[in-house]
Symmetry: C2
Subunit: 700 residues, 2 copies
């Protein structure tokens, strides 16, 4: 809250670039400020006019007699920095810069924007914009924007990174009677971004739900920290567009290739409890549901209908969305049987039949809502000849008051015949849709959020006091000095071991004798692999020999590998040959890491082996703030989990050891931002412990 | 067509059970018939009245002087059969039975319905219903239903298995200005079903698109044959509900377990070109698009917008739906650059900017539509201060006429500000939505249908003249005589071989000597497996020995297996021990078959091995009418396909041999309806040929 205490509720507002000319942005802002009913002082600023829209105008902000808490700037781009400086001199804490022509137009604009931001910083001013439509708060009330109308009063805070979308949504919302607590056009996010506004809205008593249209996130790490807190208090629903824009990132690792471009947002949103909308329609369907409905206690949905068809459609949707159809108690069934006609369907969905009038609906809805096995209810109605939509809706409204903890949603199928009833539902604040599907989708959103909020905090990031940072640093130092970015297998294994990840013994040998010596130390059988950062597919060049169980075999393999490589890749720099102990086979997994530009390192785990890219059985989490429970969830999401729990009579794998190895991998990549990518594939998971076989680490 | 030639356009209609009382169904039908403007004769039939709604009423259908082509029955259930009989005597070819109280109420009703159907058959009458709302045709025009209103005139044929849904859709459609060619309430589908009505609508010159709400399909095999034809002529869109109802079918095979309950419908719809809608909203969004838009030549979409945000949302959707963003020619880019402001985005999406008026939109849209790389166009508009929605829409309408082959769809974001323009679009027959997403979804539907229709017929079912039906019959005869339903491995292999499927050599031995003899015949190494239909997990009881490469090893294994089984499962009936030649390892696949109640046998193929249920990499096709191309598509849908084409440098598998084996499996299960389930797992696919290792066949 702190930072934005009076941003939405300033004592006085200056409009710099105010204009007398209707149609001009500087005129619309003044008009909107007046029409919004803003209770504070409004100071139009324009050197050429002494009065604008009936208000005294001032030649400059410094000429304004009293204090000003917010300045809205709508002067040409070239004059914005100077205007901001004057505001700074005047001691104004908040700016809204409407003017466009900044970073969105390229290099020149970017420089200007940097200058503007620097000016704000110098004076400790916080700025919304530049290049934005402005903001409105219906509870202050204030409308410091150039929209055509003001939003209706409500409890949805809407933040939009697209000004035109905000204008369109405002226009649409008025036609469907939807209200907002605040509307903010984020513009270029030169200073203030979604992060501050989400934090503020989470603390705002007038806001019940936060809906955002975003094209990117200003600061991934801070976004995670702030939004994780916010979602504990209120639902945050985000439509993140531009999923197709990021394009194919160059990725050399399996993990990177599996991650794709949009996954980081998906993962980040899920990890901090954001509900991700997939369309503008869904964004507002969810916002409406959250604004109007209580969060249900569970996922058991009851349906009351006057027609079988829509009931079946709704049932399909309940199952498709992972909700469950409520199973009524025996008492409910008996009461329904006693009170409804013989042909009525008593089990969920309850069908009061095509000749059901309001009284029958009321009876069925009462019994259903009273049932302890019911968490939410959907009322479906078709305009049959005798249906009484208005009277039935009256019953719905009363019952919602009686059962404030159980969300009720309507699916009133029809047009004209339903119009009055639909209006009545809107007035009572009960979401009502033309078809059953959005009602079920909305309940699903409510339930998911409820489950997220129920989850115990479990906020402790995993800590591993035993890790040896210094050892890792030393290895990286050597690698860089050697002018490499890819670690040798033996180096990577040493890094893993320094972080307590159980890697199979592996050593670099440069002569057959050394190889034999290492093999004797670790015990037979061993594998020999050529060590050369340039050779990616070692098997293809005869660079790997497995199952070597004697000094002779090791010696012979060493020579053969060297011959093969010299023959096929004479130009490759060979560091020697790695001797690795052959480990007993376990369940093959992959643990990996790829780095996202916005959100930092992402940890992956799933089915490993050579088919990892084919099977794509990998789940992801951001390393930042990763908890034990998140790692467990991550494992549980994979098909590999079925194997790990003991598939077809096999012994279960050592899950705690796996969780530990994943947590330590996360710690490693957080401690060393220079690690670019990690693939540990395969990891053999055993009934007791695990072994990391092939570890690839790339640094930058 | 034949069967229903005059059903929608009868020369005269009798309404049996017509009533004078407003509110009665028998009264509503008479009124609807009159108000629809039906040009033929209307004969109300009621023994008690001589005049109804101004029309002369008759005591019975036989008392009607002239011929009658359609009778609508709305008498009590108990009197329906008698009324139908009279209609038969009168020589009336078509009945619409509105009356409820038939199979939907249980056994008694079912008997009555059977009697009714039998009566229709006796007189050669075709019947819609019973238990339906009736039907309407806006081109005849006729409204033989008890709906409150008549549908508006249009070119969508709507068939609904739920009467209340039909009533609701009718009510809704009038409020949004949507018209229909026909509306049919299918009721209990006692005689006529969706099959006849789809066939008829496909031939109807007034119908452009067929939309259905179905809860089941009357006759799977006939549905496939008829609808496959219909979709070649017109788009058929079906919302099939009840996907959750079928519940978990008991399935003992892998294939059965993987198929799930809704898969058969999904597969059937896809194989016969039906577009499956997932919600009522989508059903009509698609119907509207198909009714109003041409099918585009390809999937390259252009977007013209006055705001970045919605443009990005639309781009995301284009990619998510498998469409592509059109890449304009150099000429188009140059022309756009010359004609648009410097800040405008020239590449797709084209952004005419927030200050773009109608002339700029028109210019951009003209250039975009003229581009040969553009197949369809979406116009997005936000209500910016200077936007000219109505003028822009005029340009859209003109351009659609100029480019009749390229669908144009609108996404007009906003409410009031857009209302007039939206109305204009509706009048011009151009689909327009409040948000971008449905416009893209609609294009995706159009493109998918276009691709389906482009596909060459390829109608030849695969034929295999070399199969040995008699051999299979003989094996089944033996199995049944032995009181079994599960074939032994050696029997299953013999069945496969009789149908030309290359099975690994396997023989049943009852003594160690026999086992050695068989092993000598097929060559070492061999596997021994206990042969007992009751032992499902042979390995678990020590019933399998692999890698036997000498007569001694075979002899010893035989004895050991017998001892193990006697010890662990003394009560199991053991038929002997199967000797199977060990085949070289290939890519492990599964080929299987499960039988669907509606659509008959479904063939599956995909990744095989012990993890088949875990990896779930299996695709399905109905065996009926399966073509070579469908089998190829089926393989191409699996992840296994990547392996089969040669993964990571391995040699590709023999795809023609696989297609052949799958085709032969389909032939086998079509020829032998008594085959309940088949699992061939693994099939080893080689660079040349394949080998079916473990074949399980269950009969019934």
């Amino acid at each position: 809250m702190g930072e934005l205490t009076n941003f939405y509720n300033p004592t006085a507002v200056a409009i710099v670039g105010a204009s007398k000319k209707p149609g001009k942005v500087g005129n619309s802002i003044v008009k909107n400020m007046i029409e919004s009913g803003y209770p504070g002082k409004i100071y139009p600023v324009n050197p050429k006019d002494s009065e604008i829209e009936g208000l005294k105008a001032y030649p400059s902000v410094t000429a304004i007699p009293g204090p000003v808490e917010l300045a809205v700037l709508s002067v040409p781009a070239a004059k914005v920095v100077e205007a901001a400086r004057e505001c700074g001199e005047k001691g104004i804490p908040y700016l809204v810069v409407i003017t466009a022509g900044f970073k969105e137009i390229g290099k020149e604009g970017l420089d200007l924007e940097k200058e503007l931001v620097a000016t704000c910083r110098r004076y400790g001013m916080r700025m919304l914009g530049p290049n934005c439509v402005g903001m409105a708060d219906t509870h202050t009330p204030i409308n410091a924007s150039f929209t055509r109308n003001s939003p209706l009063k409500g409890d949805i805070a809407f933040l939009s990174q697209s000004g035109a979308t905000l204008i369109a949504i405002l226009d649409w919302s008025r036609s469907v009677g939807l209200g907002f607590s605040k509307m903010v056009s984020l513009g270029n996010k030169g200073d203030l971004s979604e992060i501050e506004f989400i934090a503020e809205a989470a603390a705002d008593p007038y806001t019940r739900v936060i809906a955002c249209y975003l094209e990117d996130v200003a600061d991934g790490a801070r976004f995670l920290d702030v939004v994780r807190e916010a979602t504990r208090k209120k639902p945050v629903i985000i439509l993140k567009s531009g999923t197709s824009q990021a394009g194919a990132q160059a990725a050399s690792s399996h993990t990177g290739a599996l991650a794709g471009s949009d996954l980081a947002y998906d993962t980040a949103f899920r990890q901090c409890g954001v509900i991700r909308a997939r369309s503008l329609t869904e964004l507002f369907e969810l916002a409406i549901a959250f604004s109007r409905c209580p969060v249900p206690a569970g996922k058991r949905v009851a349906i009351v209908t006057n027609s079988g068809g829509p009931g079946i459609v709704a049932t399909d949707n309940v199952e498709a969305r992972g909700l469950t159809m409520a199973r009524f108690t025996r008492e409910t069934i008996d009461e329904l049987r006693a009170g409804l006609p013989a042909e009525a369907a008593l089990y969920n969905p309850v069908d009061v039949l095509g000749d059901g009038k309001a009284d029958r609906y009321r009876f069925a809805m009462e019994k259903v809502l009273a049932d302890p096995n019911v968490d939410s209810m959907v009322v479906l109605m078709c305009p049959t000849a005798v249906a009484q939509p208005v009277e039935t809706t009256r019953a719905v409204v009363e019952l919602q008051k009686q059962y404030p903890g159980k969300p009720i949603l309507g699916g009133y199928l029809g047009g004209e015949s339903m119009a009055e009833a639909v209006q009545l539902m809107a007035e009572a604040g009960i979401p009502c849709f033309t078809f059953p599907e959005p009602a079920i989708a909305a309940i699903s959103g409510l339930v998911n959020y409820g489950q997220f909020r129920e989850m115990p905090g479990d906020g402790n990031e995993l800590s591993y006091p035993d890790v040896d940072k210094r050892a890792v640093k030393a290895i990286f130092y050597d690698v860089i000095r050697d002018n490499r970015l890819v670690l040798l297998g033996s180096e990577a294994a040493a890094v893993a071991r320094a972080y307590g990840i159980s890697a199979a013994p592996v050593s670099l040998a440069t002569t057959p004798d050394e190889a034999v010596e290492e093999a004797q130390k670790m015990g037979y059988p061993v594998v020999l692999k050529v060590a050369s950062p340039k050779i990616l597919h070692k098997t293809d060049v005869g660079g790997v020999k497995v199952g070597l169980d004697s000094p002779e075999a090791v010696r012979r393999a060493f020579v053969e590998i060297m011959e093969n490589v010299n023959l096929l890749l004479p130009e490759a720099v060979v560091y020697g040959i790695e001797v690795q102990k052959m480990m007993p086979k376990g369940t093959e997994l992959i643990i990996g890491m790829t780095r996202d530009v916005q959100f930092g390192p992402m940890i992956a785990c799933g089915l490993g082996g050579i088919y990892v890219n084919l099977l794509k059985d990998v789940s992801f989490r951001l390393a930042r703030g990763l908890t034990r429970r998140e790692i467990e969830n991550m494992l549980a999401e994979t098909k590999a989990y079925t194997l790990l729990r003991g598939y077809r009579g096999e012994k279960p794998a050592d899950l705690p050891a796996l969780v530990d190895a994943i947590g330590r991998t996360a710690r490693l990549v957080l401690d060393f931002p220079e690690i670019n990518e990690i693939d540990i594939n395969p990891v053999f998971a055993y009934n007791q412990g695990l072994s990391a076989l092939d570890i690839k680490i790339t640094i930058s």
